[in-house]
């Protein structure tokens, strides 16, 4: 990155921070009661909430990550975006409206409606905080590396007296402080406006780049794909599934089977996880009624779907115009594909190096806004649950004032933000991109069974909810702890990796060693993982559903009267807040 681009990027970052802070302070003055703080006064329109859902949902993993996977591995990035999109139908058809009608502020409002309040709310708050912290860690650690990359601070260089390592720590702390400030001052209103601004920026940035890629290839998709395949060096295989997921290993049936089941496991978690993500669920409370909630989800589907179609052009565009080798050289994970494409496009269409620097800075600012909006949504979801579920209903048993509850929520935002900052600083050197997929898997295994059974199954009860939530949560985490993410040894089910000199030294093996499958494993890179799957969904989602059902059936507790009330409320909206 040239110094012009770096200066411009920093100026845009500062402008962005100032603008969002102004919005948040303005929104904060309009936040008077608990409904304002938790649910933005329930006054957003369908389009506004649809944009905010898009802003809440499309993380840096969507923008930079998917474009990067497509640029490096071709078609397989598309598998990710399709899972992320189709998932919205679960939310639209089964969850959004019923939830809006029967809850007030948190996911647990619906789960605890006809059950024993204290245990169910404790379980729901636990899974809300765990999912949100995992997701937050992925975003914050990612942001640390990303800002260093976007500013072009390389190993051995310094920037304003900071080494790349210091720059990462500073970035994580700054982002952590910003998200706390957004939530504490602006509550749901402030967070929502930040998300709307981000969604606008993200869509405009993606449309601009996609149009320029289109101009370069005369809007001929086939020639773009052909060029991308040629530059990737992989030929037609680049345009087919199988470069990254569900790989074929000739002569090794077990390994091939494991890789294929892993893809199916990922697909299941993506499509079933969305409707169980707490920071997404609370967005349905920000509109006046179920009809508007429905409209906002449809807007979100349009915005998210449109964006993922654009990432196809960005990813293949980056492969064709920048080249996979040049991208992998900057970042082996591919996260810089979109910014590098921006620079190439700017150079070509906006007058040389300066144009390249400007477009690069703009896209870097979009990526920064993307991260800020997502981390604010996550912090809000977990602090709402701590205040409304744990404090107001478990500790105070419903005997508390609104004012009290909201100030606890603000303190909780501080606490959760501080924990996330500390964890992210410690985890900054790890490859944490997998945490987003883990968060989706937990949401699908722990939250979705409890939500669906609560809304649709008369016989469901407290024990079912507890077994489902804790069972899904623990099984998902346990599978990850026993997976190749934590244990990197190779085995008959896991292929050996080609090691770089640094990786071999880190693992304490010779470079030619075939004992290592995952050199970035958290615990050991030579011990083989007991469970060969990296995605827990295929195991933990059935466990969550089965335990929820078995728990419900083995407990005598049923409250038909309460279920009838929940059904009438959720379908008609009578008595909705």
């Amino acid at each position: 990155m040239t110094s012009t681009a770096r200066t411009l990027t920093i100026i845009l970052f500062v402008v962005l921070v100032l603008v969002t802070l102004a919005i948040v302070v303005w929104a904060g003055r309009r936040t008077r009661n608990a409904t304002d703080f938790y649910a933005g006064g329930r006054s957003f329109t369908g389009f506004q909430n649809g944009m905010a859902i898009g802003g809440d949902y499309m993380s840096a993993a969507s923008f930079l990550g998917i474009a990067g996977i497509i640029a490096l591995s071709g078609y397989d990035g598309f598998l990710y975006s399709i899972g992320f999109l189709v998932a919205w139908l679960v939310a639209l058809l089964l969850v959004a409206e019923l939830m809006r009608n029967s809850g007030r502020y948190t996911m647990a409002d619906v789960l605890a409606f006809r059950m024993r309040q204290a245990p169910v709310r404790t379980a729901a708050a636990t899974s809300t905080v765990v999912v949100s912290i995992f997701y937050l860690l992925a975003q914050m650690v990612g942001a640390g590396s990303l800002v260093a990359l976007l500013l072009g601070i390389k190993e051995g260089q310094t920037f304003a007296g900071m080494s790349p390592n210091t720059a990462k720590i500073v970035t994580i702390i700054l982002i952590g402080i910003l998200m706390i400030v957004y939530v504490v001052i602006g509550g749901m209103k402030g967070t929502t406006y930040v998300q709307i601004v981000k969604a606008f920026m993200l869509m405009l940035g993606a449309i601009l780049m996609a149009v320029l890629v289109g101009v370069a290839y005369k809007y001929n998709l086939s020639s773009l794909l052909g060029d991308a395949a040629k530059k990737s060096g992989k030929g037609a295989a680049f345009l087919e599934p199988g470069q990254r997921y569900a790989k074929e290993f000739a002569g090794n049936g077990t390994r091939t089977l494991v890789s294929k089941l892993d893809l199916i496991s990922l697909g299941a978690a993506l499509v079933l996880g969305t409707a169980g993500l707490p920071h997404i669920l609370i967005r349905f409370y920000t509109v006046p009624n179920a009809r508007v909630a429905r409209r906002s989800v449809v807007w979100a589907i349009g915005i998210i779907g449109g964006f993922y179609l654009l990432t196809l052009a960005l990813g293949f565009g980056a492969a064709a115009m920048v080249g996979s080798a040049a991208i992998a050289k900057q970042d082996p994970g591919g996260n810089t594909a979109a910014p590098q494409l921006a620079e190439a496009l700017g150079r070509r269409y906006f007058g040389g190096a300066t144009g390249g620097a400007i477009l690069l800075a703009v896209i870097a600012a979009v990526a920064f806004a993307t991260i800020l909006a997502v981390v604010a949504g996550l912090t809000l979801a977990s602090s709402s649950s701590v205040a409304h579920d744990l404090y107001a209903h478990v500790v105070r048993k419903g005997q508390t004032s609104e004012r009290d509850e909201v100030s606890v929520a603000r303190y909780a935002a501080f606490g959760i933000g501080a924990v996330a900052i500390v964890l992210a600083v410690f985890a900054r050197g790890l490859n944490v991109a997998f945490l987003v997929a883990v968060a989706f898997a937990i949401a699908a295994s722990a939250n979705l069974p409890a939500i669906l059974f609560s809304l649709f199954w008369k016989r469901f009860n407290t024990r079912g909810a507890l077994w489902g939530i804790y069972g899904g949560l623990f099984s998902a985490v346990l599978v990850v702890l026993l997976s190749p993410i934590c244990w990197g040894g190779s085995s008959s089910a896991l292929a050996p990796a080609k090691l770089t000199a640094t990786q071999a030294a880190d693992c304490g093996v010779p470079v030619a060693s075939t004992a290592v499958n995952n050199p970035t494993a958290l615990f050991s890179c030579t011990t083989a993982a007991p469970i060969p799957f990296s995605n827990p969904g295929l195991i933990s989602i059935p466990i969550g559903f089965i335990l929820a059902a078995v728990g419900a059936l083995t407990s005598k507790e049923t409250d038909e009267q309460k279920f009838a009330e929940l059904e009438v409320r959720s379908l008609t909206g009578a008595g909705a807040h």
């Binding site: 078609y75 598309f78 598998l79 399709i82 899972g83 999109l85 189709v86 919205w88 139908l89 679960v90 639209l92 058809l93 089964l94 409206e97 998709l221 086939s222 020639s223 794909l225 052909g226 395949a229 037609a236 295989a237 345009l239 087919e240 599934p241 199988g242 997921y245 569900a246 074929e248 294929k260 893809l263 199916i264 697909g267 499509v271 179920a290 009809r291 429905r294 409209r295 989800v297 449809v298 589907i301 349009g302 779907g305 993922y308 179609l309 009838a564 009330e565 059904e567 009438v568 379908l571 008609t572 909206g573 009578a574 008595g575």
Partner: protein, 99 residues
Amino acid sequence: MEAEQWPEFGHLRRAMRRFVFPTTVAFLLWYGLYVVLSAYARNFMGTKVVGNINVALIFGLLQFLTTFLIAWAYVRYADRRLDPLAAELRERLEGGERQ
């Protein structure tokens, strides 16, 4: 609330489930088919249709199309069939509470 006994509520619940349950099963199977084919039917997915555009890409774009279509169809159905029933019941219930 004895509203769950009212015939109108039965209509609303049936009308909702009649659309939502079969559609959910259908799109999950359709998506599942796409993922399974991506994992197991490499040759089929790699078949070129026009220029460099292959079956895998068209299949993926069809997933987008069906998602948009289902969302549109549901809004149409809910606006026309579910909302009037729900509004009528809500008025009756909330009117009843006030008396």
